[in-house]
Amino acid sequence: MSIKLDQVSLVHPNGHRAVGNVSFEIDSGERVAIIGPSGAGKTTLLRLLATALRPSAGEIRILGDDPWRVGRGVLRELRCRVGMVHQAPPIPPRQRVVTAVLAGRLGRWPLWKGLASLVYPVDIEGARQMLARMEIADKLFERCDRLSGGQLQRVGVARILYQQPDLLLTDEPVSAVDPALSDRVIGELNSEAIERGVTLVASLHAVDLALHWFPRIIGIRGGEIAFDLPPARVTDAMLKDLYASEAAVPTQTNAPLAMQPTGIRRKPMCS
């Protein structure tokens, strides 16, 4: 058993209930796509699985452990085995692609290796291979703020491939990638999961990609599960119903995390 959710709810501090009474199980090696309209709670659900959020009610087990009952050391080990691709890749803009990819394994490296890699990248070849699978091997030594949004997302995916986790979580990993490449990226994620026999859970806005690549589709709406079926049994009517109430405004922005040096205020100085 890779993931088990039992009556899990999450209420944000502002009182908004993002996920309500959700229960499902995902076996090891399963590949699951989560679809649903913007604001349905896809991101929140994935963040629950990634142990980034603690459920307000219900029980959650990830890779056999309850992340909120185990000690700090066990939690850290558990987190090494969970990899998450965020929609807006949380990578410092000035970091180089090679460093950003290698950062995927920081959890498994001893401290000295992490420090050494800041001086000289310790596994350039490894990073290059993962980037080649994303077709951006030529950007190996580029700075991340020189990449397009889609390229940056693929760096984020390469980082997770390099991490080699037992549970791959991806939150809209191709929202900024063009359609042909999207297919390639989702394909690589799937073949990674199949080859290594690990679990893949992906939230996707593009329904056709979900139906094409994943043997199991979970549709969610308003924080609750609408259906949980193999793709062949997902009908057009179900999809139409699922997206009927879609809000026009996306809930997540792809805002860059750049921090521009704010020019130093030259207020008159005494000296």
Binding site: V98, Y120, P121, I124, R128, F141, P268, C270
Partner: protein
């Protein structure tokens, strides 16, 4: 073979060499710096130094609060404030005429350019130079020079602040005047107005708040500066602190330091108040 070579080349971090050069460069530049500054933390733990410093710091508490000493401090504080204020008055006297000369938009001869254009520039240039000269020499150096010219005491401090801040005010005043809308001034000049008429009717009303605000701000700086200048004998709190330090009486030093911090806060409040009232 060549492909493998190209592969290997691609996989070498291209930033490694520049980084190495930068690191070595910084070390090469800083290393003589450590030598030049005689950097040696061991000196701090030299038993003789440590004993003096330990004895000195040990006496920082309790604060010196004898009535006699407090009276002395009060007098020194008032003296510091008076030096700053008198110094600013002198600075205004120096800065105002020079600023009027330097400000380009007040030039009559530039219209056209008309009669006396070259002469006007010839006059502006030395005025500019004087302003730069006055403000580029730090106030504490002026204070050192004036202490030797007019003797120990507040007069040297007043002169030092007057001269340095005169240079600063003059430059900033002319910048403020030129940054404002120059059309009313130009119109007045073109209508045959004199320099002073043009200034008082064209610029004064617009630029006044900013001029006042900057002057008040500078006064605040003058208060700090007059404390500092006391160290070379120009009167006020600083001179008192220098004396107390020389006598190794820590309690007095800490009392003076506390007074200084209070004075800075007070000056800040006064200057904020003045800026609010005059805005």
């Amino acid at each position: 073979m060549t492909a493998a070579k190209a592969d290997a080349a691609r996989l070498r971090d291209p930033a490694a060499v520049p980084r190495l050069i930068l690191t070595v460069g910084i070390i090469v530049v800083l290393w003589p710096g450590f030598r030049l500054t005689e950097f040696d933390l061991g000196v701090l733990f030299d038993p003789r130094n440590r004993e003096i410093m330990g004895r000195f710091v040990g006496t920082f508490f309790p604060l010196a609060t004898s009535a006699e000493f407090l009276r002395l401090i009060l007098k020194a504080t008032l003296e510091t404030l008076a030096i700053a204020t008198a110094g600013m008055a002198l600075a205004l006297l120096i800065a105002s005429p020079l600023a009027l000369i330097v400000t380009r938009s007040l030039s009559i001869s530039r219209i056209g350019p008309g009669y006396g254009f070259a002469a006007g520039r010839l006059l502006r240039l030395p005025a500019r130079f004087i302003l730069m000269f006055l403000r580029s020499i730090p106030e504490i150096v002026w204070a050192l020079l004036f202490v030797r010219a007019v003797g120990l005491g507040p007069a040297a401090g007043v002169l030092a602040i007057g001269v340095t801040y005169g240079g600063m005010l003059g430059k900033v005043y002319s910048e403020i005047l030129e940054a404002g809308d120059t059309r009313p001034t130009t119109a007045l000049l073109e209508a045959g107005g004199s320099r002073l008429t043009a200034f008082f009717y064209g610029m004064w009303p617009v630029a006044l708040p900013e001029l006042v605000s900057y002057t008040v701000y500078r006064w605040e700086c003058a208060v700090r500066a007059s404390v500092i200048m006391g160290f070379v004998g120009a009167g006020g709190l600083g001179q008192q602190m220098e004396l107390s330090m020389r006598m190794l009486s820590g309690g007095e030093v800490s009392t003076i330091l506390l007074t200084f911090l209070l004075l800075v806060v007070l000056a800040d409040a006064v200057s904020a108040f003045l800026r609010k009232v005059t805005a």
